[in-house]
């Protein structure tokens, strides 16, 4: 380093503490073992979220909420150069992001990375997944084509089925009795202002916790002595691999969005009957199908309420798992949590499969 750059470095270092940061990065390590592959999925989710921010702002440049919503999306898709690609990337990346968050969640679950002291990591992660699914639901309406119209109409029946306050919640979300331009306007506000304002600080918290506690190891690794464990430096080794994963994710996204461009249906019209085989996005298929199945066992309002109750209970158990299976001494509880996880995966896959099977 020449004395000039050295003195600039010193000037910045004195104010921002670069040396401490470099020392911190040098000492940070990532465990290496058979399950290390799963460590990348949080990073992939983060990358896809960044893609969502970027492509979302690009769509914001031409999108009009309210009564012109459909026309503006039509213009983005068919008139603006590469507008179809930007929109397609936003939709594909949304789906890939939910997918990678789910992979991340299940890998955390089965590696028991929610245990002490990582309870807040698990809870904030669940909240992030919840917000991500509301992102998905609200974003789905914004083009205001026939599919998004009916999907939203059907989706809002679920909160509306809550006893007593359900109808009020439904009308609050819709902005009236029907899905219309008021609904688009408030879903838009939710999608681009409210949800990012909730998501970003939570994401910061989640990432800070990862820094604070480091990567969790699966129980099989923790059983080994420190001398038997392998690690790699975070900087630059793990970061380089992480970025390589981001590049792979970007390439897959580019391929999917250009080869399978996202379609735009006909303009939403409540007087036109719903298209055949209408169904929710794949990540809502399972809860949708569970409610439907319970409805067929217990018809009527009782079934709806029972369905919501069971569903809420299942999610509550899932969220509270770190307090049940709290540490490596959990023993029988650890096994139970593992089986509960397997049942959850099976139930999700099975109901999703049934859902797709029955709409054909």
């Amino acid at each position: 380093m020449t004395s000039k750059t050295a003195s600039i470095y010193d000037w910045v270092d004195e104010r921002l503490g670069l040396t401490e940061l470099a020392a911190f990065a040098r000492h940070k390590t990532v465990p290496v073992h058979a399950q290390s592959f799963w460590y990348y999925w949080g990073g992939i989710s983060l990358f896809l979220f960044l893609v969502q921010c970027f492509t979302g702002v690009l769509l914001l440049v031409y999108y009009h909420p309210g009564a012109d919503a459909y026309e503006s999306v039509r213009q983005i898709t068919f008139v603006m150069h590469f507008g179809w690609l930007i929109r397609s990337a936003h939709s594909w990346s949304a789906n890939l992001m939910i997918f990678s968050i789910l992979v991340h969640m299940f890998s955390v679950y089965f590696m028991k990375a929610y245990r002490k002291p990582r309870e807040f990591g698990w809870l904030s992660g669940m909240a992030l997944l919840g917000i991500a699914s509301v992102f998905g639901f609200s974003g789905y309406l914004l083009p205001m084509d026939d599919l998004s119209y009916f999907a939203t109409k059907v989706g809002l029946q679920i909160p509306a089925a809550i006893p007593w306050i359900g109808p009020i919640i439904g009308n609050m979300l819709r902005g009236g009795l029907e899905v219309n331009e008021f609904t688009v306007q408030r879903f838009f506000a939710l999608h681009v202002v409210v949800l990012p304002a909730l998501f970003l600080p939570l994401l910061g918290f989640h990432l800070w916790l990862v820094q604070r506690h480091g990567n969790a190891m699966p129980p099989a690794e923790e059983a080994k002595s420190i001398l038997q464990r392998k690690t790699m430096p975070f900087f630059p080794n793990f970061l380089r691999k992480d970025l390589a994963m981001w590049l792979i994710a970007l390439n897959i996204l580019a391929l999917l969005s250009s080869v399978f461009p996202w379609s735009l249906g006909k303009q939403a019209d409540m007087l036109v009957p719903a298209p055949q085989g209408i169904h929710p996005e794949w990540y809502f298929m399972s809860p949708f199908e569970m409610l439907k199945l319970l409805g067929s066992f217990m018809p009527g309002e009782a079934g709806e309420i029972a369905g919501l109750l069971i569903f809420t209970l299942g999610i509550a158990l899932w969220v509270l798992i770190p307090f049940y299976d709290a540490n490596k001494a959990s023993g029988r509880r650890a096994r139970n949590a593992h089986y509960f996880g397997l049942i959850a995966v099976f139930a999700l896959l099975a109901t999703t499969a049934i859902g797709y099977w029955t709409i054909r």
Binding site: H27, T29, M80, F82, G83, I86, I226, L227, T231
Partner: protein, 163 residues
């Protein structure tokens, strides 16, 4: 986990001349590939954002505008219209003369106003004044005159064209 025992030491190999050359070639090709990749990402985004500008560029190619029934405007009054994408004005003077000029102030681009009492063109933003017959900048900050158009009045309307 904070149990860190073995940090592999950073190994600095003494590079041989042949290594140096192949390393250089690798870095150059990696840099070129990275640049191509970035360009492939940036190009669609640039074109996407530039779309309205490209749509307007066909409008700026306009060379004449026909203003239907504009011959009916009374003397001492003005008709504002768009010539391509930019505002323009058609003035019917008290003495019966027809003048058309761009209505964009040459100072900082505000739309100018015809004032019939003073028989001048005035810009509300910074007080620029133009001659209402020639478009010449008379006082205030404007550096250049307003451009004149050719005017042809007939019984169905007024035809305004580039000179």
């Amino acid at each position: 986990m904070s149990q860190v025992l073995n940090i592999p030491p950073i190994v600095k190999e003494t590079a041989e001349p042949g290594d140096q050359a192949s390393r250089r070639a690798f870095l150059v090709s990696a840099g070129a590939a990275g640049l191509c990749y970035t360009a492939a990402l940036a190009y669609p985004i640039y074109r996407y954002l530039a779309s309205p500008e490209e749509m307007e560029s066909s409008a700026t190619a306009v060379t004449e505008v026909t203003l239907k029934d504009a011959q009916k405007i009374p003397s001492g009054s003005v008709l504002m219209f768009k010539f391509g994408t930019a505002p323009a004005m058609l003035i019917h003077h008290e003495d019966g003369r027809w003048i058309a000029l761009t209505a964009v102030c040459t100072h900082l681009g505000c739309t100018v106003q015809y004032e019939p009492q003073a028989d001048r063109i005035h810009c509300g933003c910074h007080g620029g004044v133009y001659n209402a017959y020639t478009g010449a900048n008379v006082s205030g900050p404007p550096p250049k005159p307003l451009k004149l158009f050719k005017v042809a009045v007939n019984e169905t309307g007024v035809n305004v064209s580039r000179t």
